[in-house]
């Protein structure tokens, strides 16, 4: 190129560099085909940005009928997806007039349970222990679980954090709706926006120490670092109220995010809580790219459900007392 024949002016050199970086930036933010190199941010970190859905019909734990089977065949996966459309369709009205029909709650168009198995065709989201089941609870853990199961409708404190519109917390688990997450990155932070219940999870990457032991949070305290292509997030300082499947403030959560292709981020989390589970365990959930976006999730601002739950229980108690 002619510009290199003599000493280039500073301005021209900057323009060339800027143009090259602009191209790199655009490439970094587009969705490359599977054969190209993994996308990178302009400062060279793996690029996890985008909106991702974790909706899937793959069950969390491996069903007994599939014991020993780690992966479905393509035919089995297709069959499951087809059958799921009818069995999981909320428009079915068999059992009208029963609690089961009330529990299905609404027409199918309101739900987002997913229609596909995980692209890996794994038979469960739990991948360790190898039987695909959550390990047993410690005696302490069992006691706490029994106490929780016994709670009813006396007070909002008896209800789940979701019904109270407090948080859905961590880790990220597929549910019947709002399975969408948005990831944004800067050199110092990775941010994961949880649509439900409007949480902006900000993960510092700068090697800062965790906050002091006396600070306990619903989302704990997270620190992230890059290990090759994988973002490893270490979270401690959970409040004991955070209660993931019964976990306590001893929960140590380790998450790994790896972009495996243009359309998929592999999300793996390990639960380490010796006060609750008899061993560490891990689940692996694919996050699928979506062109959709995150919307506001105003929950507490209109939590008629809590009022209805509690007043309904009070009315029933009165009726039972024969007053």
């Amino acid at each position: 190129m002619a510009i290199f024949e003599k000493r280039p002016s500073r301005a021209l050199a900057s323009a060339v560099v800027l143009a090259a970086l602009a191209t790199a930036t655009i490439a970094g933010q587009s969705r490359p085909s599977g054969t190209r190199a993994m996308p990178r941010t302009p400062w060279g970190d793996p690029d996890l940005q985008g909106v991702w859905s974790i909706a899937t019909i793959t069950p969390f734990e491996r069903p007994g009928a599939l014991a020993g089977k780690q992966v479905l065949t393509e035919e089995e996966a297709a069959e499951l997806e087809k059958t799921n459309l009818t069995t999981n369709n909320q428009d079915r009205r068999d059992g009208a007039g029963t609690d089961a029909d009330v529990a299905r709650a609404y027409n199918d168009f309101w739900w987002d349970r997913g229609t596909k198995v995980a692209s890996t065709r794994q038979t469960s989201l739990v991948v360790d222990p190898p039987d695909g089941r959550v390990p047993g609870l410690t005696p302490e853990g069992q006691q706490r679980a029994a106490a929780r199961a016994a709670r009813g409708y006396d007070s909002w404190e008896d209800r789940s954090l979701w019904e109270r519109c407090i948080t859905r917390g961590l880790p990220m688990i597929p549910g019947p709706y709002n399975n969408n997450y948005q990831i944004l990155q800067t050199p110092g932070y990775v941010v994961i926006l949880h649509e439900m219940i409007h949480d902006a999870r900000i993960i510092p990457l700068g090697g800062q120490p965790h906050v002091g032991q006396n600070i306990r949070q619903w989302f704990g305290d997270s620190r992230g670092r890059w290990e090759g292509e994988t973002l490893v997030v270490d979270t401690t300082n959970f409040s004991e109220k955070a209660n993931y499947r019964g976990s306590t403030d001893r929960l140590h959560l380790i998450e790994r995010f790896t972009r495996v292709n243009a359309d998929t981020v592999k999300y793996e989390f390990t639960i380490d809580d010796p006060t609750t589970f008899t061993r560490k365990w891990t689940a692996s959930i694919p996050m699928s790219h979506t062109d959709e976006q995150i919307y506001e999730y105003a929950c507490h601002e209109g939590n008629y459900g809590m009022v209805n739950l509690l007043s309904g229980a009070r009315v029933q108690e009165k009726a039972a007392d024969g007053k």
Binding site: L18, L21, A22, T25, Q29, T41, P42, W43, Q49, Y153, D154, S155, W156, E157, R164, C165, I166, T167, Q182, L184, Q185, T186, P187, G188, Y189, V191, L193, H198, D199, A200, I202, P204, Q208, P209, V211, I215, Q217, W218, F219, Q293, I294, Y295, E296, A298, H300, E301, M306, V307, L310, S311, A313, R314, E317
Partner: protein, 282 residues
């Protein structure tokens, strides 16, 4: 004179001249620069996305009493006797340009009613999302995470947040608490237009309010390494007779390892909101 010495004197002269120039346009201490003008010569560092835009990333916080009352006000007694001086209203110079909020007559009366029934009516008390611009000047830090396509502002209060869609024409599907934000750059100023409010939020604890016709235009301008100038224009034809403005600096939280912590206040207000429905123990 030796060439190097001459060069040194010229350079020194230029530096002094430049410094004098900077001081000349520096705003008087205590006065917000009008219209978000950065002092001549200040240029913020650029975004790591290399798009040529200023880098607004960081943790920021307003430092005034606007959340109590956006207009100029003297100190006054708080609503809870037992909290005494710990929770009475501190004075403030006000952040409203001209110190006047141009309410329509019906709305001026409604504002007075709001102020008189503050404990019952202020959505902040129930830990409801505070809306924009109130979220900016509540007494908690907020964090800006900036990419070319999305600028996130995450607030500590109630874990509220909003995403500013850059250079977007998308519309909100429904009315919301935090509004729908669309942004663009004008030079080094981030200009944000916010609409699709549901009309449920207030501007402060003094009862200043709006309707679902609210439209907000914000301007964030870096004026020094650790200060953003924040100017907001409020427009609501259902409530006000004309648009009006607020203006204030936002200060960077420069502590080492500064981070947002949680203020998930829902659990602090459940007793207040649902206590009457709790099962009475005999």
């Amino acid at each position: 004179m030796r060439p190097r010495l001459r060069l040194a004197i010229v350079a020194a002269g230029a530096a002094i001249g430049l410094a004098v120039l900077s001081f000349a346009v520096m705003p008087t201490a205590g006065q917000a620069p009008a219209g978000g003008q950065a002092p001549a010569g200040y240029k913020a560092s650029r975004s790591p996305f290399k798009d040529g835009k200023p880098d607004l990333n960081g943790i920021w916080q307003a430092n005034n009493t606007a959340n109590w009352d956006i207009q100029g006000h003297a100190a006054r007694q708080g609503p809870i006797l037992e909290l005494g001086a710990a929770f009475s209203v501190p004075a403030g110079l006000g952040v409203v340009e001209g110190d006047e909020i141009p309410y329509q007559p019906w709305a001026a009366a409604k504002k007075k009613e709001n102020a008189a029934n503050w404990l019952k009516l202020d959505p902040e008390i129930k830990c409801y999302m505070p809306g924009v611009p109130r979220a900016t000047y509540m007494p908690y830090p907020f964090q800006i995470v900036q990419t070319p396509t999305h600028v996130l502002m995450a607030y500590e209060f109630a874990s509220a947040s909003r995403t500013i869609y850059m250079n977007s024409k998308d519309e909100s599907p429904a009315d919301t608490w935090m509004g729908w934000s669309r942004g663009r750059w004008e030079g080094d100023t981030l200009v944000v237009e916010v609409n699709a409010f549901n009309g449920e939020t207030w501007f402060d604890r003094a009862g200043n309010f709006h309707s679902d016709a609210l439209r907000v235009v914000e301007r964030f301008t870096p004026v020094s390494r650790d200060v953003l100038q924040y100017d907001v224009t409020i427009e609501d034809p259902k409530v006000f007779t004309r648009p009006w403005k607020m203006s204030m600096p936002l200060y960077r939280r420069i502590e080492k390892n500064a981070q947002l912590l949680e203020y998930k206040c829902v659990e602090f207000v459940e007793e207040l909101m649902y206590g009457h429905l709790r099962k009475k123990t005999k």
